[in-house]
Symmetry: C2
Subunit: 349 residues, 2 copies
């Protein structure tokens, strides 16, 4: 647990790696304010802005509006693996390990069906507001973000009320959340109350002055938020889940296990090193080829002699892309998108 209020927590990595589908109780929670206590029986979703037919829907209305869909998708915090950046130089934000990620089956209706029912104009952006109240930068405001209309119209963007076949838990957005596969978790708001079709991105603090990628030379004091890259899709990444950092192991065969993720691309290869990247072996991969939004699990067994070892993992995607080696090469003051080689020191006695 990184903080109690707002509630921010991630699972131990061995627990995360134990199941290809992440159980709701093991799924990381990133909140920006107190968890709203909402009642599905009285909850309303409003669809407004540049629409021909503004909607004000109960959960039952929404569920009757379009066919129910279930799809598998990873959600990952933009700050996943931030802890690996902090030895380079401190950053703002919680020091997430590699557990601010999870893979679940989400059930809901496609956002584009709701937009069509409302007669959305061919505007450029779809903004979402949550019921959660954020205190930040000396102000108190409701959480809000937006995505571009081309993404909003794709089949796989859901308004979801269930996770792994069960009603959403309060901390995961009960009774209704957005799920935007391949995008950083920030664009999948929980406790959804309002969808606004508009010509500009959300003017909410979360969209405008946070969750942007900035060069290493930029600081809190010098930041020009408009110059940052809005974080949507995320880079190629891999993490070692077992053994965990600082583990003490017996000499001999040790199985190294982890996950890898390549956005819309397939993970083509995962290399594992026991000598800090001096030499590598290729791990066995477990894909779900039917589900592009899933992650890849990998494992390999190495023979580790006595001594101190730096285990390292790196992935390659189907375009022959691989990861940068050093956290210093991707450091930024907000601590986002740490996708350098994952390094795990272990001791064999």
């Amino acid at each position: 647990m990184h903080s109690e209020a707002p509630f921010n927590a991630e699972p131990p990595l061995d627990r995360l790696r134990a199941s290809f589908v992440t159980a709701a109780q093991d799924f990381y929670v990133r909140s920006h304010g107190d968890i709203p206590k909402l009642d599905a029986a009285t909850h309303r979703l409003r669809v407004c802005g540049r629409v021909d037919r503004p909607l004000d829907l109960s959960m039952a209305d929404l569920q009757a509006l379009a066919p129910q869909r279930t799809l598998g998708a990873v959600l990952q915090c933009a700050g996943n693996r931030r802890a690996d950046l902090q030895p380079v130089k401190p950053t703002s934000g919680d020091p997430w390990a590699a557990g601010a990620i999870g893979y679940a089956h989400w059930t809901g209706v496609a956002l584009h069906e709701v937009l069509r029912a409302a007669g959305a104009a061919a505007s450029a952006h779809v903004a979402f507001d949550g019921a959660d109240q954020v205190e930040m930068a000396g102000r108190r405001f409701r959480y809000g973000v937006s995505i571009g209309m081309p993404r909003a119209l794709q089949d796989d963007v859901l308004l979801a009320w269930a996770m792994n076949g069960e009603t959403l838990r309060p901390e995961h957005g009960h009774p209704l959340r957005v799920v935007v596969p391949f995008y950083a978790g920030v664009r999948s708001p929980k406790w959804l109350t309002t969808i606004t079709v508009q010509d500009h991105p959300s003017d909410n603090h979360m969209q405008q002055q946070d969750y942007k990628l900035l060069p290493a030379s930029v600081t809190e004091a010098t930041v020009d938020w408009q110059a940052g890259l809005t974080i949507n899709e995320m880079p190629l990444n891999a993490a070692i889940c077992t053994p965990q950092a600082q583990a003490r192991l017996a000499p001999g065969a040790t199985t190294i296990r982890g996950y890898a993720i390549a956005g819309r691309r397939a993970v083509a290869r995962v290399d594992v090193s026991a000598d800090g990247g001096g030499s590598w072996v290729q791990a066995a991969l477990r894909h779900d080829p039917e589900t592009p939004g899933a992650w890849t699990f990998w494992a390999t067994t190495l023979d580790l002699p006595q001594g101190e070892h730096e285990l390292v993992a790196r992935a390659w995607d189907e375009a022959g892309q691989t990861q940068p080696a050093c956290a210093g090469d991707v450091w930024n003051f907000k601590g986002y998108l740490c996708a350098a080689w994952h390094r795990v020191p272990v001791s064999v006695r």
Copy 2:
């Protein structure tokens, strides 16, 4: 020029960077055999294999078969920047600098229209044969490769007869070539004679035993080609075109110019360093947002004091992906997909 027979050549990088659209005479040439001397008036294209209506088309037939299309696309050799890998350890293949790439406007018909006219079955692969004869591995055979059917059916895959508004030159595939945007040049055969719809990838040497990405530990002696990644899409890359390596410059303001490419993604940022990557500035970018197949040109002006400097460029794409720093991190014995930071030593006197 890397070799005269087969003819393999790339332009000087300052010339490549001088024009956003690469002139035919400046466009790299990669041949695997002698350049065939073909006559457009008598050339035939056969479409066969798992089709309802095998076709045997003259160029006039082909041009009458579907609407003419022109699109902008980069073609890049899988061995572009191989020269940057060779200081790590020798590789096979020609030591291409960063000029085995170019951007042109291609005119032809969409492959999917031809496949539809032939009544192609829903097979998995589309194989192409060229008229060029390759001598390799002790055998002489016609050049052949294949692409997957899903890619073949996309709108932007062309059978092209013109480049930048002019009839294809012999070295660029006259009278007919394939253009598969975003894929390595190997999948865009020149001197096209035959299209075969089939259930398996091409069994040609070029598809099966070449143009695959293998781990650094694999050698010519130990290679298992089936375990390699077939090179189709290519990784994020950036190159400095001016000044060129070993340039002697006057102290003061120096403009650094180059290109960057991110496959189907947009180039979001290009960082330039004059101290080997210790500090970075952000270059100005020139995109063509209407043409996803185009590259990005970039430029920035640095004040260089007297001394020896290592200029470095690296790109970031819209998913926050950046490049690995060291050529050693991407080395492979075939010398493919060198996408490490581009480093250019210069001397300021």
